[in-house]
């Protein structure tokens, strides 16, 4: 499993890791970069607006990535602190969401390195969830499907879960996911494809753990 960043990024570093060089399309989030530039010049109201746009999605990303509310809170605060401190050197070379989620991703990687024995959070046991799902309770089908998805998401290999969450919470494209995670586009695409396949099987009531092979 390649859960470390590749070293083909530029010299600028964010959150102790390599920064951004990607100059992709920015038109859809041009407002975000404009807000960040205004904050760079001292406009705190601009930052608050920017923060309100991304705070919940970033928190959910870190919550499901770390599978620990306390860790998610710590990483959330750390990521935003990095953004705040790096504002004077901020350059709109990528979408702001890509920049933000990359910072958060790097903070999570740093967290893993600090805590080599990363403990799994209170995620449900997928086998137990599969067992529950087998009960013929039609009224609870929807709830169980959601529980299965949550459990399956928690048991995805970290890099696949990361790719899926970056897409769902950050709205990142394959190129952006590749940039944020420091891998090439095909790797990002492969990770996302396996994640989606496993999650879809879990939604259908099939056991993703029994079928799955770590292709990350």
């Amino acid at each position: 499993m390649d859960w470390t960043m590749t070293a083909d990024a530029p010299a600028s570093r964010v959150c102790g890791r390599q920064g951004l060089s990607y100059a992709g399309p920015m038109s859809d989030r041009l407002e975000d970069t404009a807000l960040m530039l205004r904050y760079r010049d001292g406009d705190t109201a601009a930052f608050e607006l920017l923060y309100r746009r991304h705070n919940d999605s970033l928190y959910r990303y870190l919550l499901r990535l770390s599978r620990s509310p306390q860790t998610a809170e710590d990483l959330f605060q750390e990521a935003w602190s990095k953004v705040i401190r790096a504002r004077t050197s901020y350059r709109p070379t990528a979408r702001f969401s890509t920049y933000l989620f990359r910072v958060a991703h790097n903070c999570f990687i740093d967290h893993l390195r600090r805590n080599r024995r990363h403990t799994a959070g209170p995620g449900a046991d997928p086998e137990q969830v599969m067992s529950d799902a087998a009960q013929p309770d039609e009224a609870a089908d929807s709830l169980r499907a959601r529980e299965r998805l949550e459990a399956a998401l928690g048991h995805l290999p970290p890099e696949q879960r990361d790719a899926f969450l970056l897409h769902e919470e950050g709205g990142l494209s394959l190129d952006d996911i590749a940039l944020a995670t420091g891998v090439n586009r095909e790797t990002a695409k492969s990770r996302l494809r396996y994640a989606v396949a496993k999650l879809k099987r879990s939604l259908a009531g099939k056991d993703p753990v029994a079928e799955g092979v770590d292709h990350g």
């Binding site: 608050e48 919940d56 959330f76 935003w80 959601r146 709205g171 494209s173 394959l174």
Partner: protein, 160 residues
């Protein structure tokens, strides 16, 4: 779901919708306050660092004003503006006056060695001026003025 960006069929709508159903968590309020406070503090600190002290601005203004004044005085001394002031004396000869009617070799006369226009207004005054030049020993100037007088007044007769 932006399928065009993510690639053909990478994530389908049903999965995305199912995820949206479970992804409803919000940031705890105390985290919002922490982050926004940090952002405000950081911006305020940066503003303080970038804002120059009042004395610094005053001194800078005075220095610039003094420099401008010094340049203006220097230019005035050099005569750049073409107006009054204490000009630097250049090594150019003082202007000379051409005595009317004088020979070419004697045409250039200093102002104090010739008769003024008022003295030349009448032949009598002109003659008295010539006599004054002679009395001062400026014989060549007197001769030049006499030639001019005779040219202007051909019938002039020296008074007895």
């Amino acid at each position: 779901m932006d399928k065009d960006r993510i690639g053909a069929g990478e994530v389908d709508g049903a999965l995305s919708a199912a995820y949206r159903d479970i992804a409803v968590e919000k940031v705890p309020g105390h985290l919002d306050a922490l982050v926004l406070d940090a952002a405000r503090r950081q911006a305020a600190q940066a503003t303080d660092v970038r804002r120059p002290a009042a004395w610094y601005r005053t001194v800078s203004f005075a220095a610039i004003a003094g420099l401008c004044a010094a340049l203006l005085v220097s230019f005035a001394h050099l005569g750049v503006f073409g107006t009054g002031g204490d000009r630097i004396e250049l090594s150019v000869p003082a202007p000379q006056v051409i005595a009317p009617g004088a020979a070419d070799s004697d045409r250039l006369l200093p102002a104090e060695e010739r008769c003024s226009e008022a003295e030349r207004s009448t032949s009598g005054n002109w003659w008295r001026c010539i006599r004054a030049l002679e009395a001062r020993g400026l014989t060549r100037a007197a001769e030049a003025e006499l030639q001019a007088l005779l040219g202007a007044h051909p019938g002039f007769v020296e008074p007895k």
